[in-house]
């Protein structure tokens, strides 16, 4: 196990190193930067600013400097916001986390309940309905369903606010603030749950169907156990266990924000920060964000593999 872990960690570092090189080159190769886009500056001032930010140096040297800073915990300095990238991340990330955590939690709860019931009543009308709903959820264009719900629920019916985290100009505190945030996050959470529900429900449904066909379920029934006991203590636990490996894959989504949803709902999260900076070509921030997600993805995959081993000791790593 420990040799596996060392090997794995080394490989992770190599992959991350390669990823950082690729990410840097992609952004560095994109013609035009934050300074080019600003028409208010004179040519001399632009050259001066390039000098200050080190944009006139060769790409490889810039990459070296970037990496050196990154190892010192400095992920660069946002040109548009004039703040360190890391500080911006810590300002915005918790808004993203709030949205992601609530919707992930709801998605898992609903997916388990619906998946288990439809597996238990396989081929019933409920199951068929669930299957169609699963396909519908997996086929939703995320931005379109977001816009559609804003149009109906926020613009036409005025039940919920169309976007943002708090009402503009509001300085509510305490319970009133909480209520405001909850009202604002309802729509984005609904959309995120809808989008995530399909594949997860399907996963739990097929897990449960597999488990229900096992011999130990027949044994449990033959012993004369109550159906409820068979279902919840014998079947459900075994059906849920493999899902532990999915936890790792949720990691980038939990902390990385959602580019599309946050942009559509004007949610002040890290995904929207990325989209805003993208238009401005604020490369330090863009590179930092992409690298951040890459790191989360790599850690998430490792976590999944380890959890897989925890869940099923037969798996040799």
């Amino acid at each position: 196990m420990s040799t596996y872990l060392t090997k794995r960690l080394l490989y992770m570092l190599v992959i991350l190193f390669a990823a950082s090189l690729l990410i840097f080159c992609l952004y560095a190769l994109t013609p035009g930067d934050f300074i080019t886009g600003n028409i208010k500056l004179t040519a001399e001032r632009k050259a001066e600013l390039r000098e200050i930010y080190g944009l006139n140096k060769p790409v490889l040297e810039r990459y070296g400097l970037w990496m050196k800073d990154a190892f010192h915990g400095n992920f660069g300095y946002s040109l548009a916001q004039q703040k360190p990238v890391l500080q911006l991340f810590s300002d915005y990330i918790w808004n993203s986390f709030l949205l992601a955590a609530v919707s992930t939690f709801l998605t898992w709860v609903i997916a388990v309940i619906v998946g288990v019931i439809s597996a238990y009543k396989q081929y019933s009308w409920f199951d068929t309905l669930v299957m169609v709903a699963i396909f519908a959820a997996m086929s939703l264009p995320s931005f379109f369903i977001g816009l559609f719900l804003i149009k109906i629920l926020a613009v036409d019916l005025k039940w919920l606010p169309p976007g943002g985290m708090i009402t503009t100009g509001s300085n509510a505190t305490g319970l009133a603030y909480l209520k405001e945030v909850v009202r604002h996050m309802t729509l984005p959470v609904v959309v995120m749950v809808l989008l995530g529900l399909g594949s997860l429900t399907r996963y739990f449904r097929s897990n449960m169907i597999d488990v229900l066909q096992q011999d130990y379920i027949r044994t449990a029934r033959a012993k004369g156990l109550k159906e409820r006991k068979v279902l919840f203590t014998h079947a459900l636990r075994n059906a849920l266990l493999p899902a532990i490996t999915l936890v790792g894959f949720e990691l980038p989504a939990l902390f990385g924000g959602s580019l599309i949803i946050e942009q559509i709902f004007n949610w002040p999260g890290i995904g929207q920060l990325y989209m805003k900076s993208f238009g401005l070509r604020d490369y330090p921030l863009l590179m930092g964000f992409t690298m951040f997600i890459a790191i989360l993805t790599v850690i998430g995959t490792l976590l999944s593999d380890i959890l897989y081993r925890v869940a099923d000791p037969r798996v040799r790593l």
């Binding site: 519908a136 931005f143 379109f144 399907r202 599309i260």
Partner: protein, 307 residues
């Protein structure tokens, strides 16, 4: 003579039975799955509508008609008109041509790339495997959406003519999609190459090319068909996201994604929903139909992988 014809008559039903092949069996099974058949029906309908429909529309030239600006759906314009007086129904059909083509073409590209590279990696192992799979790992580490956004921005900066963007978008989507496919094909290859029939192929002294294309690849074709079908839906969705954010296929080439771009305009979003709801529903209908059909195909062709 009479006895002869009697004999052939008797034999005929038998001859019919022997004609059953894997393809026929699968087709018969597939026809029993009503959901999958109706999914296929919707897909065919969308293709026919988009590729043949515009020929029956009087508005295909997309002439600017100031007298008919932003009209709500009515009898002459079934889905209304846009800010330039163009018929929305015609535009949805024309956009569908592009969106469906991009989806199909990028699927073909990613499946070709993924199957070929995955097969090489799984069959030859060693250095080729290392290089291909490490590149795949790398591409899977970097988040797909930002990667596509960067490519999209690069295209805009390089001033790629809008006519060509469509082809480059196809390429971009397959660059992001092939690693997953390659990984799966490689896994299949690794298990297939240890089977008895491959040992027989080795004993017979067959060439690599024949082993690969004659014996290994045909065995993963059912799996590839399923993955390819499900991939089309994903490609259509990705293209629409990119085009919606103005980084994919650009106007004047219409796609479903860049038609929904109208929703980025506050007035069109609130007061002219017919501009952006029809293309959105078209994406949804097409992708759901493809997914349902693909799932039906999976049940028939690859019953082991029911997930």
């Amino acid at each position: 003579m009479a006895a002869d014809s009697k004999l052939t008559k008797l034999q005929r039903p038998q001859a019919k039975l022997q004609k059953s092949s894997l393809f026929r069996q699968s087709l018969r099974k597939l026809m029993h799955n009503k959901l999958a058949v109706s999914g296929f029906g919707v897909v065919v309908f969308m293709f026919v509508l988009c590729f043949i429909g515009p020929f029956f529309s009087p508005y295909t030239d997309n002439k600017i008609n100031m007298a008919m600006m932003n009209k709500a759906p009515n009898l002459t314009h079934w889905l209304g008109t846009d800010a330039l007086g163009r018929d929305i129904l015609t535009r949805v059909m024309q956009a569908g041509r592009i969106s469906l083509t991009v989806g199909l073409a990028s699927m073909v590209l990613s499946v070709l790339l993924g199957a070929l590279l995955g097969a090489i990696a799984g069959y030859y192992r060693g250095l080729a495997d290392q290089i291909i799979m490490r590149v795949a790992d790398l591409l899977m580490t970097i988040p797909g959406l930002p990667l596509l956004f960067i490519f999209g921005a690069l295209l805009s900066e390089w001033k790629i003519p809008t006519d060509y963007r469509m082809y480059i978008v196809m390429l971009m989507l397959s660059i992001v999609n092939w690693p997953g496919l390659a990984r799966m094909v490689r896994g299949q290859m690794l298990s297939l190459r240890e089977r008895e029939f491959m040992q027989a192929a080795v004993v017979l002294g067959l060439r690599d090319r024949r082993k690969l294309f004659g014996h290994l690849l045909p065995n993963i074709v059912p799996l590839l068909i399923v993955m390819a079908t499900l991939n089309i839906g994903g490609a259509i969705l990705s293209e629409s996201v990119l085009s919606f954010f103005g980084l994919g296929v650009m106007p004047p080439t219409p796609t479903w994604g860049n038609m929904i771009d109208a929703a980025n305009n506050m007035i069109d979003f609130q007061d002219h929903p017919w501009l952006w709801i029809p293309p959105g529903l078209s994406i949804f209908a097409t992708v759901i139909a493809i997914n349902i059909f693909g799932d039906g195909l999976r049940d028939v062709l690859d019953p082991k992988q029911k997930r």
